[in-house]
Subunit: 340 residues, 2 copies
């Protein structure tokens, strides 16, 4: 899934180059490239399917030149994750009769790739054999994070366990209770299932969406697929896979993984994961920081900056756009960009 526009990272991510195509952490790879390479030991390149906005098709192929053009599926508009996954599933089933499928956002950070591959491999084995299972990768929480949804389990065991419930983003007090209880994991948004399991779940919980896609079933995998999607996709309910399927299902599993995961969803999370100087600043690019503490400074290549007298601020310059703000207020970025 690589269709997001990542407005929370403005000006680094913008409509014309959203977060998944950026190397925000300076690792030398964009998020989508890193995601591809992270899955490559488990999934052969020919089996990847990228769903993105039509506007980003060329960018996807640029970042993943190993893919053929027909491995990049184009949404004509954003309709959240359930229609995205339904589209991909119909496309995959046009290529093969059954499949074990991993669904993943293309803009997350994983620092322990070997452990990631182990967890994904085990999970795919599990869903291949337990063919009704819908599995979500849980992440062992390291702090009372209020920015993520949580997965509740009945009892903590090693390995794959049933899900008791899904919890929306909690307030801080609740998040602290979750952390203390030890039975709550962060919802990574990474899913594993067999094609049978997800198709049956769509049929049970989102039958209208199934009817919409069934109308064009013979067209998937042909040169008429895109036309059909362009016509039908708008009619899909705008709903996430979490609300639309996972919360309504009774065969849900998770595993408490620990592979250095972050969705890097905010400048603050970037700050958490980036290297800091002695004054607690995370700076990238050609910048001199003077009397500045606890700040994120992100300067585009080819530019130079002096940042002085700032505390817990964000200074980001990219693509002819500059953001100077307090890190504490970054959740407002979207509104400021609208004003601009």
């Amino acid at each position: 899934m690589a269709g997001g526009i990542g407005s929370r990272f403005w000006p680094l991510s913008k409509d014309n180059c959203p977060k998944q195509f950026l190397d925000i952490l300076g690792t030398g790879k964009s998020f989508i490239r890193a995601t591809f390479e992270r899955f490559l030991p488990v999934v052969p390149a020919k089996n990847f399917v990228v769903v993105t906005n039509a506007a980003y098709k060329a960018l996807v192929l640029e970042h993943l030149p190993e893919l053929r053009e027909n491995q990049v599926l184009c949404e004509p508009m954003r309709r959240n994750t359930a229609p995205c996954i339904a589209y991909a599933t119909y496309h995959i089933l046009s290529q093969c009769h059954e499949a074990s499928i991993a669904v993943t956002p293309a803009d997350h950070l994983v620092t322990n790739e070997r452990e990631f591959q182990r967890v994904i491999g085990e999970g795919l084995d599990f869903v291949e054999h337990k063919r009704e299972a819908l599995m979500t990768i849980g992440i062992k929480p390291s702090r009372p994070e209020t920015g993520y949804g949580y997965i509740e389990v009945d009892e903590v065991r090693d390995g794959i366990v049933p899900v008791k419930s899904f919890k929306e983003k909690p307030d801080l007090e609740t998040a602290k209770k979750f952390l203390a209880a030890g039975r709550y994991f962060w919802n990574s948004g990474i899913f594993l299932w067999s094609s049978d399991a997800i198709m049956n779940a769509f049929k049970s919980h989102l039958p209208d969406m199934v009817n919409l896609f069934d109308e064009g079933k013979p067209l998937f995998g042909t040169d008429k697929e895109q036309d059909f999607i362009n016509r039908q996709f708008e009619r899909c309910e705008n709903i996430s896979i979490d609300y639309g399927v996972m919360e309504r299902s009774h065969s849900r599993y998770t595993v408490a993984a620990d592979f250095g995961w972050s969705d890097i969803g905010t400048w603050g999370s970037l700050y958490t994961h980036a290297a800091h100087d002695g004054a607690g600043n995370a700076a990238t690019g050609h910048a001199v920081l003077v009397d500045t503490t606890g700040s994120v400074v992100n300067i585009e290549k080819g530019y130079e900056a002096i940042v002085q007298g700032m505390d817990h601020c964000l200074v980001a310059l990219r693509d002819h756009s500059l953001l100077v703000c307090r890190l504490d207020d970054e959740q407002q970025i979207k509104h400021w960009v609208e004003k601009l």
Copy 2:
């Protein structure tokens, strides 16, 4: 005089485009262009002589296309105002036997041009008839400014009066006394004199410099002038006209002018003279200011900016360089730029 590099206005002014060539206030004209037009009713275009660094000759001719190339004199290196003025005087005397001369920086602001022209016209009449007089334009002070030198007079009268003494930049307490006394004016750095008066003053007070220039006297105004200057100029004493001549002279005059003058020497002074929004911000360029007060935001054309949560700060983006700092600390800009 248009040879300065204006490092205090980084990143707007830089070595490759110093302050005199910028339209910092957004008036539609660079400072040098505005200075030229301000003098044009008093001095015909063919009588202008611009002294600048060799690196800026093309820029001068671009901003003042009315000038011929030989009206732009090039210093091979910076040597302060006394050698600059001596060079120009020798050049002028190669073109005519006597002249009334106005010497002016090319990067000041004047808001009442008509009053300016009246004052300059009267002053030039004065020095034409009182041929030994060295005249400095004084400015009636409006605040206890510590960033300017002061001119002391014995008694305050309308019109042109003798100078008692020149005072260096005072501390705040002294500046307050100057303001209260009413006998102290800001030193604008604009001078008026006859060619006889300034040549005699150079001979009396800077005889070594006169000897240096005399060696090439027949070469001024010829195609050998530049070669001669390139060889000799380095040997000139690095001294200002104020220290080298004015403070040592006994025939000094001034006038207390009031034509809306500022040397716009700092971001703070720019803030003083620019238009403010309701929150006391002076912003130019495409910028959205949120929860920001008393700040200067200066964004280059073609860029956009969001500035949030700042108070008494400076955000300036120009020529691939960004400065974010506290306005109170702007006197340190030069040091930060050196670090960068």
